[in-house]
Amino acid sequence: MTSTSIRAAVVITAVLFLRLALTPLAATEPPAGDVELGKRIYEQGIGHDGQPVKALGQGDIEVFGSDFACTRCHRRSGFGASEGGYYIPSIAATYLFEPRRIQRSDRYRALFIDPQSARQSAYVRSPRIRPAYTMETLHTALATGLDPGDNRFQDLMPRYDLDQQDMANLYAYLQTLSAEISPGVDDTHIHYAIVIGPDVPAERSEAVLATMDAFVVWMNERIGGDQRMNQFFPYDGADVREWLRKLKLHEWRLSGAPSTWRAQLEAKQAEQPAFALVNGLVAGSWEPVAQFCNENAVPCMLPITDFPAVNDVEGQYTVYYDRGLYLEAELMLDYLSTPPPSTRHNVLVWHAQGNRGEIPAAYFRELLREHDQIKLSKLQQYPGGDDLAAFVSANLERIRAADTLVIWPDADASALLQALTAHDLGDVRLLLPQAAAGSAQMLLNSALADQVYFTYPRALASGYYPETYRIQGWMNSRGLEVTDQRLHFKAHYGMMIVFDAMRHIFNNFHRDYFLELIEHEVEGSKNPGLYPRLSLGPDQRYLSKGGYIVKPADQQPDYIAAVTDWIIP
């Protein structure tokens, strides 16, 4: 006998034994399943006894725990993924508990969108028919790797050793998994909302809304065109076009204190649910909105904020551009400590009144606490308006005694820098966030030109991003007045990312799946030049991870030049 036939014989015997073992049980009552405990198996790989469930991976490796929980491969939505050249099928309820259909939406992505190895694409194309799973056939499949159509799974799908109770719990959970489509989708439209907080300057919200509205009009025209095509040519691709939905954008304007936002958001959601939130502007922390998104499992795509949530964001429902001012504080410390100073390095910290000054200053102070050589000499809030010049004069000795003056300004950066240039500051180094980099040109003609540095967690204007020109052209041809290019581009990119995910979602309108598609596709999306690189991965929540340190420089676009490589703090 060849080794293959021995193997086949072993498998068949094992299956027969399992079937025998399971049949009497199927005749008696199977234990009642607990959905929550089933979810724990699915997402964490923990069984009803609190112990990790065991599995065999790649034929011979014992694996267990969260790294080999179902969600790792089939994802939170159950829709699977195509990754590393492997196609991981959907095990959402609507798939498992129905005979395998040969429906294009199921395989479309695997077939046409994701690049694959020849071996893998042959595998995806081969129609392996199977009936709907029952608890019994699922138990057999998980244990032996043979589905109810007697097709053998690839080795990547582990073999799970589940007892009757775990099986019943998992089965109960799988019956609920993406069983219903998410709210915010009706027969004609997908509803999105943008959150706009109180105290957001009108010119900012208008810039963002104008861009988004233009995008919606443009997109809906294209979708309308495709839908009309179905009336005339109900042939190839008609099934896919039938699932097209136009976009409808709602403005969710908030008022009052952040502590009241949750209730306001929930009321709006009850009135007309949004499938996802897109872009979004609030004056302070995004945290209250992030909490709403997490608790309602609503994806919040790319809010334009300097105050993202920074703790335990992985796998949560908000996806951010970057870590905002927290990232800038970390970049500053990284810069000051590379190479580590050999003697004590004194840092004087000034900040403006209000969120944009106080929050990063406090965060920066915390970072310094853990450093041995870089020490805070004093943290001071500087006054605004007429008192600024006097404050600077009164603190000259303190500035000269420091090695670095870190400043967290508000909109007053240029006035403060102007006041500082009036004095001889010795050889102190000044370090400010990107928001102050607009003063670079002014500084060039001052004595401070060689002493001021900015964190710059974004692409340099000297970089080449062809997509920039395309988007600029798109905006021009729509008569959009581009007052703040970065803001308009962010508004556009947020919509683009959402639209890209919708193109691949077909009729699987599930919010978790939507997020997974975005995680998967951001890295391949066209970079509009907002950041040097954009990437995500499963459960990652920041598109960009680092920044440069720049200084004022002549004959450079934006009058700045990088003095470091891209730093990942």
Partner: protein, 217 residues
Amino acid sequence: MNTFTSTIKILAWVLVVLLHTANEGFAAETADNRQNTTAKKHQSYVRSSHVYQVPEVTLTTAHGDQVNVAELFAAQESTIVSFVFTSCAGVCPMISATMASATKGLDPIDPDYAIYLVSLDPEYDTPERLSSYAERFETGSKVHFLTGEVEAIRELLQAVDSVYEGGNKMNHQPITLMRVGDSEQWLRFDGMMTGKAIATEYERAKDLSQHPSMASR
């Protein structure tokens, strides 16, 4: 819509449908081929052999040390290399677990080897993230994780002909590279390997490097 354009469109659709049917026919054929090959040899990877020039780029270990990759890969008798990233959904945890388990089979054959798992997501996979990942997978002292500048890793990927499509790491394919003895020849395995398969291939490669005449067998 005038009649001319609609005629053209109908013709176009007829063409699309025809092409579609032809394509389905092809798909079935490939699937048949596949079944034939799997029935013959139950192997989930493809072996090939290449001369690769490992570039002199600097990468960072999970301990934060800077290393020259060309020197590192040449520092021991045999070197095994694969590519992963910590947030990767299914394939990478499996590769990491496989490497950890492979060491049990490799050690008795000849312990003078090292395994390097290079991150495809260096910006996210900081040394701290990699060292906690290594701990979680109990990869042991023979398996080393590497990260570094995006450009350096891209250069390495180019040198070993493993650049993934569309600049998107999600499209990476599982590969294992193996260099045995002082030969410049690298064995390349495309596809998922078991720990046993890695040990078997290692043993075979060692035999070949010690008795080159067996190469013709």
